[in-house]
């Protein structure tokens, strides 16, 4: 861990971000949604495939959706081979991303502890560690005293409601500065000639048989060769315009930060069982989140009792947090699927692709999905890493059930 005072390692902002162009009449590729996924897709379309006649259409401001609201945890310790492949591909890209983007992203590999609180948690955790190792992903099982050594402020007493029985540990996991990640991708895409168009909401589509010929937007009609959806929690709204159904449900997911504190928390700690996870941001805030609010919602806010429960769990696990003041809380709208895995690939329209359903955990996938989705768009066929995540799996039954490794924990 750095010995600098909190915040000292934050870089200066650059004097130039990106152009703010008027939309052209038509593009080879129209990406709907200017969050991390849309911007990363744009970057890799240009970099890996030389496709630059591309627009990213964003209804608000760039990366103002979940990208600006997430708690930035990055890890690849997922259970199934399909998930391990895409998340590990992404983690490897994170490890070189600062160089690729020529932009600081403050990627800090401080490790993640996923706590176990019951006998069954222990069995599931050890199983996941072994599965991770078989996939070449760094993973360890730690006993409570080893947990305490990595994170001294954690309460490993046996006298609490859900004592810490151990944890899985992935040392290469970490956090990054989400805004900088978005701006880095945006600058690169812009430099390549891709148009990033803000304040441009997609309101519908013009359709010719099983092809989409254009998008109708709040700034006029725009023709397109291919449409790539990257609208996270709002994907159902867009698919409704096309008469396409997908098994997605949108929920508010809340997070909060404390005031700035001295560096007290050196890693990331997550607990599915008591529903809290926490890391300490570069400047010093404790950043915390929990599970989604139960009901469907698009309001970008959630219920207070969820926060109360999450705080109760946090204070029991970290007694020193009792003195921290809550600075602010907020919510994003995340799209969850029945198997807690994303939906990527073809739709019934030949030239419309979907990337959605990342739910509570898609930030960590940002470079990886940008890479694979760009390949999918360029070749008209899913990249092998995303092929298992087709919409068709709900019909064939080949689900990628990641509730154990994905749901709640991010």
């Amino acid at each position: 861990m750095t010995t600098n005072p909190p915040g000292a390692d934050l870089p200066e902002h650059p004097d130039f971000l990106w152009r703010n162009p008027e939309p052209k009449k038509t593009y080879d590729v129209v990406i709907v949604g200017g969050g991390g996924h849309g911007l990363a897709t744009a970057h890799y379309l240009a970099k890996n495939h030389g496709i630059t006649n591309v627009a990213v259409l964003e209804k608000g401001w760039l990366a103002g959706g979940n990208m600006a609201r997430n708690t930035t945890l990055i890890r690849s310790n997922y259970l199934w081979d399909e998930s391990a492949a895409i998340y590990e591909h992404s983690l490897k890209l994170w490890e070189g991303l600062e160089d690729d983007l020529g932009y600081p992203i403050l990627f800090s590999q401080r490790g993640v502890l996923n706590l176990a609180h019951t006998e069954q948690d222990i069995r599931d955790s050890v199983r996941r560690v072994e599965a991770n190792k078989l996939n070449g992903i760094d993973a360890e099982w730690l006993e409570p005293d080893e947990v305490k050594r990595i994170c001294p402020i954690i309460n490993t007493s046996e006298d609490i409601r859900y004592p810490v029985q151990g944890a899985t540990y992935q040392a290469r996991a970490g956090i990054a500065k989400h805004d900088y990640v978005a701006w880095g991708f945006a600058r690169r895409a812009d430099e390549a000639g891709i148009d990033l168009i803000q304040d441009c909401e997609v309101l519908g589509f013009t359709v010719d048989g099983d092809r989409v010929t254009g998008v109708r937007t709040s700034r006029g009609d725009i023709g397109c060769g291919t449409v790539a959806l990257c609208a996270a929690g709002h994907t159902s709204v867009l698919l409704d315009h096309l008469g396409v159904r997908a098994p997605l449900q949108s929920h508010p997911l809340q997070a909060l930060v404390s005031e700035l504190l001295e560096p007290v928390h050196p890693t990331i700690v997550m607990s599915n069982a008591v529903h809290v996870y926490v890391s300490q941001a570069h400047k010093g805030e404790l950043v915390m989140g929990a599970g989604v609010d139960a009901y469907n919602g698009y309001g970008q806010r959630g219920a207070f009792h969820i926060i109360e429960r999450q705080m109760a769990a946090a204070v029991e696990l970290f007694p020193v947090f009792a003195r921290a003041h809550l600075l602010r809380s907020w919510a994003g709208i995340v799209d969850v699927t029945p198997d807690a895995s994303p939906i990527i690939g073809h739709t019934p329209y030949e030239n419309v692709f979907v990337n959605a359903g990342w739910g509570t955990g898609g930030f960590k996938a940002t470079p990886g999905i940008g890479w694979c989705y760009a390949h999918t768009i360029a070749h008209g066929e899913p990249h092998p890493y995303v092929a298992p995540f087709s919409l068709g799996r709900f019909t064939t039954g080949a689900l990628v059930d990641e509730h154990g490794a994905a749901a709640v924990a991010h």
């Binding site: 709002h234 709204v237 159904r245 449900q249 309001g299 799209d335």
Partner: protein
């Protein structure tokens, strides 16, 4: 936290309730005739509108009964809550 109007008990705090997803998803009448796609739709697919949505809620920490609600998923406001309608009797 909002007050939710249980049709049997009246207004109670949100923490007493459990969310049950979309209302009116009926078990297929002729299950043997369903295609894989039909089964997928029945098991996995639910509407996800931004706006009014017919839902099921249960007053799980109160009378423990299920009821139907219409709620706006954008404002989260409950527009109505009603006792489930009795099934039509078929002859």
């Amino acid at each position: 936290m909002q007050l939710i109007h249980c049709p049997w008990c009246g207004p109670r705090e949100e923490v007493e309730f459990h969310y049950g997803g979309q209302a009116g998803v009926a078990y297929p009448e002729r299950p043997a005739e369903l295609s894989d796609q039909d089964w997928a739709e029945y098991v996995f697919y639910r509407d996800n509108p931004k706006g009014t949505f017919a839902e099921r809620w249960s007053h799980s920490a109160g009378c423990r009964r299920w009821f139907d609600a219409v709620r706006d998923t954008h404002t989260y406001r409950f527009l109505s809550t009603t006792k489930p309608r009795p099934k039509e009797v078929r002859v």
